[in-house]
C-alpha cells in the first residue's frame, strides 16, 4: 500500500545541533504508529518538521501524494493533517467551543462578506460548524455543557481531550499526537487509549503518537519507530522493537543519568 506519510532523509538542525538526522519514516494509512525515544531524542522536532512549523534542512516529506516539505503549516493542515502539542497549546482565553471552531478553520466555508452581511450561507456554515464542534467534544468524551467554559479553566485531562477534538475538527486523514497521555492518571490513560483506537476504527484517521508511557506504546501501536540522538535506530512491530539490542542500549544507556525505564518494562 502507498504510505500516507513518507519522510525521506529528513534533517533538521538548530545551529550546530542536529536534532533530526537523516530520518526515513513511512506511515501506512489506517495505522496506529508510535514514535518513541529518550528525552531530547528529536521526536517533537520530527512532528514540527512534518507539520511545517520547522522547515527541513534536507529531505523530502510526502503526504497523501504531494510534497509538503517547505509548505506553510496552515497549508499542510488544509491538506489533511492535524496535531496536538506536547505542552498543551489550547487558546486559553477562548471558550472550549471556540477552540474547536478554530480547529475547523479550514473546514468552515465562510467569507468576509458573508460575515459582514450575515448571509444565509454564512449563518448555515457557522451553525454547522458549531454543531460539528459540539459533536466532536462529545466524541472525545468531554462532559456536556462545558462548551462555554474558558479552556484554561478545565482540568488537565480534559484539556488534552479538547486538543484532540480541536485537531479532529480540521477533518484530518492523519493526526499527530505528541505525548497525549502525559500527566494523566491510569484511568484517564486507559480511556485515552480507547479513544485513539476509536479515532482509527470509527473515523478512519491514521494515528501517529509520540509516547513515553510504554504501556500505551506497547498496548496500541501496530508499528513503532525508535529515535535516538535524532536518528532512527529501529523500527518494526512492538515485539521486534522490544527485542532490539540498540533500543535497549539507548534506553539503558540513558537510564543511569535520567532514570528512564527500559523498553518493555511497562511502567
Amino acid at each position: 500500500m502507498r504510505p500516507l506519510l513518507e519522510l525521506r532523509n529528513v534533517t533538521k538542525c538548530f545551529g550546530g545541533l542536529v536534532a533530526v538526522n537523516n530520518v526515513d519514516l513511512q506511515i501506512e494509512p489506517g495505522r496506529i504508529a508510535s514514535v518513541i525515544g529518550p528525552n531530547g531524542a528529536g521526536k517533537t522536532t520530527i512532528f514540527n518538521t512534518i507539520t511545517g512549523i520547522y522547515r527541513p534542512d534536507a529531505g523530502t516529506i510526502r503526504f497523501d501524494g504531494q510534497n509538503i516539505a517547505g509548505k506553510r503549516p496552515d497549508q499542510i493542515t488544509a491538506a489533511g493533517m492535524c496535531r496536538t502539542f506536547q505542552n498543551i497549546r489550547l487558546f486559553h482565553n477562548m471558550t472550549v467551543l471556540e477552540n474547536v471552531l478554530v480547529g475547523a478553520h479550514t473546514q468552515t466555508p465562510s467569507t468576509l462578506w458573508g460575515a459582514m452581511l450575515r448571509t444565509r450561507s454564512f449563518q448555515l456554515a457557522e451553525e454547522r460548524a458549531r454543531q460539528e464542534a459540539i459533536r466532536l467534544l462529545r466524541y472525545v468524551g468531554l462532559p456536556a455543557g462545558l462548551g462555554d467554559q474558558l479552556a484554561k479553566n478545565l482540568p488537565y485531562g480534559q484539556q488534552r481531550r479538547i486538543e484532540i477534538a480541536r485537531a479532529l475538527a480540521a477533518n484530518p486523514k492523519l493526526i499527530l499526537l505528541d505525548e497525549p497521555t502525559a500527566g494523566m492518571n491510569p484511568q484517564e490513560t486507559e480511556a485515552a487509549i480507547r479513544l485513539f483506537r476509536r479515532l482509527r476504527d470509527e473515523l478512519g484517521v491514521t494515528v501517529v503518537l509520540i509516547e513515553h508511557d510504554m504501556k500505551v506504546v506497547m498496548g496500541i501501536s501496530e508499528y513503532v519507530t525508535v529515535i535516538d540522538y535524532g536518528q532512527k535506530i529501529a523500527e518494526g512491530t512492538t515485539a521486534e522493537v522490544r527485542k532490539n539490542q540498540r533500543v535497549i542500549e539507548a534506553y539503558l544507556g540513558r537510564s543511569a543519568t535520567s532514570a528512564q525505564g527500559p523498553v518493555g518494562e511497562g511502567s
Binding site: 517533537t44 514540527n48 507539520t51 511545517g52 512549523i53 520547522y54 522547515r55 517547505g70 506553510r72 503549516p73 496552515d74 493542515t77 488544509a78 492535524c82 496535531r83 502539542f85 506536547q86 505542552n87 498543551i88 497549546r89 489550547l90 487558546f91 486559553h92 482565553n93 477562548m94 471558550t95 467551543l97 471556540e98 471552531l101 478554530v102 480547529g103 478553520h105 479550514t106 468552515t108 465562510s110 468576509l112 460575515a115 459582514m116 450575515r118 454564512f122 457557522e126 460548524a129 462548551g147 462555554d148 467554559q149 474558558l150 484554561k152 479553566n153 478545565l154 482540568p155 488537565y156 480541536r166 485537531a167 480540521a170 502525559a182 500527566g183
Partner: protein
C-alpha cells in the same frame, strides 16, 4: 463571543431595572436636556448628558428599548440641543470620529493582539486623499507652498466627497496591507516600534511631499477643502428661519454643517460598531483571537497567519480611512500636525482605558479621552484664566489667583492626566472600564490548575518561515 454572561447586576443596574428604571433614565436624560436648554455652556450639564447615555447603555432593559432610548438621544435630543450650543455637535462629531478610530485600532490591537503605534497613519491617508482631490491642490502641484494664489475652481465637484468616502476606505485598507507586509514576522515590541516608525513616516511624508511635486503643500497644510453639498431644501431661508426660531438665535450654513458632520460621524460609528461586532463573532474574528492567544497553535490549526494579520490591518485601517475623509471635509483643512504620534497614543489610550477588545469599552474610552482633550481641560483652563484676570484669592491658601503662574494651566497637563489615568487603571482595573467578556475572565480568574512541571519543556520557537 459566547462566554457565559455574568448575570449579576451592579447596584446601579438593579436600580435601573423594570418600569421604574425606564422612568429614572428618562428623568436623568430629560433633566440633562432641560439643564442644557437653560445653560447651554455648562460643562457639568454636558457631562450629565454623556452620563445619561451611559445609563442607557447599562440599564438592564430589552434591546429594542435601549435602542429606542439611545437612538432618540443621539438622533433627536442631542441635535435639538445642538441648536442652543453648536459646540455640542462639534463635541459629538469628535467623540464619534475618535470612537470610530478606536474601534478600528481595537480590531488590530484588541482582537488580533498586534500592537500598532502608528494607527493615525491610516487616518492621515483618508484625510489627505480628500484634501488633495477635494481642494484646488491639483492645480498647484508644480508650485512651492505659499507662492501661489489659489486657483478659483475645484477640479472635482463637492459631491465627489461621497465617492471619496469609499476611496478613503480602500486607500487606507491598502496602506494597512502595505504596513502589514513588512511587519508580518514581527511580534510584540518589535512590531510596536516598526508601526510607530510607519506612523511617523506617513506624517513626515505629508510634511515633505511639497517637492518635487507639491502634493501635500508641506507643513502649511491644504485648505480650503470642500464640504459635501447640503440639499438645498435645508438651506432654504424658510427652514433656516424656523430653526433660528427654535434656537432663539440666527442659524446659518455652518450650523447646518455642524449637524451634518455630527450625523455622518454617528452613522459611520454605528456602521463600524456593527461590523466590528459581526466580525468578532465570525471565523475571521476567532482566527484573530487565536493568533493573539498562540500563533503557533493557530497556524497549526490551519489559520493562515499572513492573511489573517493582513485582514486585521486592512479592516482596522479602513475605518479610519473613512473617518479621515470626513475629518478633512469637516475641518476644511489638513496639516501634518493633526497626525502626530500623540494622536496614535491617544487612540491607544482610548482602547486600553475603555477595555481592550470591548466595543462598548473603546467607545466610552473615546468619549472620555475626547472630552478631556477638547472639553474638560479646556474649560478648566478658561475658568482658571478668567479667575486670574479677577482680583480674587485662592481659598485656604490666600494667594491671589492672578499670581498663579500660567504654567499651571490644566490644558498643558493633558498628557500627565492621561498618564495618571492609565496608571490608576492598570492598578485597579487593568481590563478597562467596560472589559470584554473574555478579558474580564482572563484577568480575574485563576486557571483551575497549573500544568505539571514536565509540560513546560519543549517550547516551540517556530522557524521564520512560519510568519513569512
Amino acid at each position: 463571543m459566547s462566554v457565559a454572561r455574568h448575570s449579576q447586576l451592579s447596584p446601579l443596574q438593579r436600580l435601573l431595572q423594570g418600569t421604574p428604571g425606564l422612568w429614572i433614565v428618562l428623568a436623568v436624560a430629560a433633566g440633562a436636556s432641560y439643564g442644557f436648554v437653560q445653560s447651554p455652556r455648562s460643562l457639568p450639564v454636558r457631562l450629565l448628558l454623556i452620563f445619561s447615555l451611559l445609563l442607557i447603555y447599562f440599564m438592564p432593559q430589552k434591546g429594542w428599548v435601549k435602542l429606542l432610548y439611545g437612538g432618540g438621544m443621539l438622533l433627536i435630543v442631542l441635535p435639538y440641543l445642538g441648536l442652543f450650543n453648536p459646540f455640542l455637535m462639534e463635541l459629538g462629531f469628535q467623540i464619534a470620529a475618535f470612537a470610530t478610530l478606536a474601534i478600528g485600532l481595537n480590531i488590530v490591537v484588541g482582537f488580533a493582539g498586534l500592537l500598532d503605534l502608528g494607527y493615525v497613519a491610516f487616518f492621515a491617508v483618508g484625510a489627505y486623499l480628500w484634501a488633495f482631490f477635494g481642494s484646488q491642490q491639483l492645480w498647484h502641484t508644480d508650485e512651492a507652498p505659499g507662492t501661489f494664489t489659489i486657483f478659483a475652481t475645484f477640479p472635482f465637484p463637492a459631491w465627489w466627497f461621497w465617492i471619496f468616502l469609499g476611496v478613503g476606505v480602500v486607500g487606507a485598507a491598502f496602506t494597512g496591507v502595505l504596513l502589514g507586509f513588512p511587519v508580518l514576522r514581527l511580534r510584540g515590541d518589535y512590531l510596536a516600534i516598526v508601526t510607530l516608525g510607519f506612523g511617523e513616516v506617513i506624517r513626515v511624508m505629508a510634511n515633505n511631499l511639497d517637492k518635487p511635486i507639491n502634493l501635500t503643500n508641506g507643513p502649511q497644510g491644504i485648505t480650503p477643502i470642500q464640504r459635501p453639498p447640503i440639499p438645498s431644501f435645508f438651506t432654504s431661508p424658510e427652514i433656516l428661519e424656523q430653526l433660528g426660531q427654535l434656537a432663539g438665535r440666527p442659524v446659518g450654513l455652518n450650523d447646518l454643517y455642524g449637524f451634518f458632520f455630527y450625523f455622518m460621524a454617528v452613522a459611520i460609528l454605528v456602521l463600524a460598531i456593527f461590523l466590528a461586532l459581526r466580525l468578532d463573532n465570525s471565523k475571521l474574528g476567532r482566527a484573530w483571537t487565536a493568533i493573539r492567544e498562540d500563533d503557533v497553535a493557530a497556524v497549526a490549526m490551519g489559520v493562515p497567519l499572513r492573511r489573517t494579520k493582513l485582514a486585521a490591518f486592512a479592516i482596522g485601517a479602513s475605518f479610519s480611512g473613512a473617518m479621515g475623509v470626513l475629518y478633512a471635509a469637516n475641518r476644511t483643512f489638513v496639516s501634518p500636525e493633526t497626525f502626530s504620534l500623540t494622536v496614535s497614543i491617544s487612540i491607544l489610550v482610548m482602547v486600553i482605558l475603555g477595555g481592550l477588545g470591548s466595543i462598548a469599552g473603546v467607545v466610552l474610552g473615546a468619549a472620555i479621552v475626547t472630552m478631556l482633550n477638547i472639553d474638560i481641560l479646556q474649560t478648566l483652563s478658561l475658568q482658571l484664566s478668567s479667575l486670574r484676570q479677577g482680583s480674587g484669592t485662592i481659598p485656604l491658601l490666600g494667594i491671589p489667583w492672578a499670581s498663579l503662574p500660567t504654567q499651571l494651566d490644566p490644558a498643558r497637563y493633558q498628557r500627565l492626566f492621561f498618564g495618571l489615568l492609565l496608571i490608576v487603571m492598570m492598578i485597579f482595573r487593568p481590563e478597562g472600564i467596560i472589559p470584554s467578556q473574555r478579558r474580564r475572565l482572563e484577568l480575574h480568574e485563576e486557571p483551575a490548575q497549573e500544568p505539571p512541571a514536565a509540560q513546560i519543556e519543549g517550547e516551540i520557537e517556530p522557524d521564520h518561515k512560519l510568519e513569512s
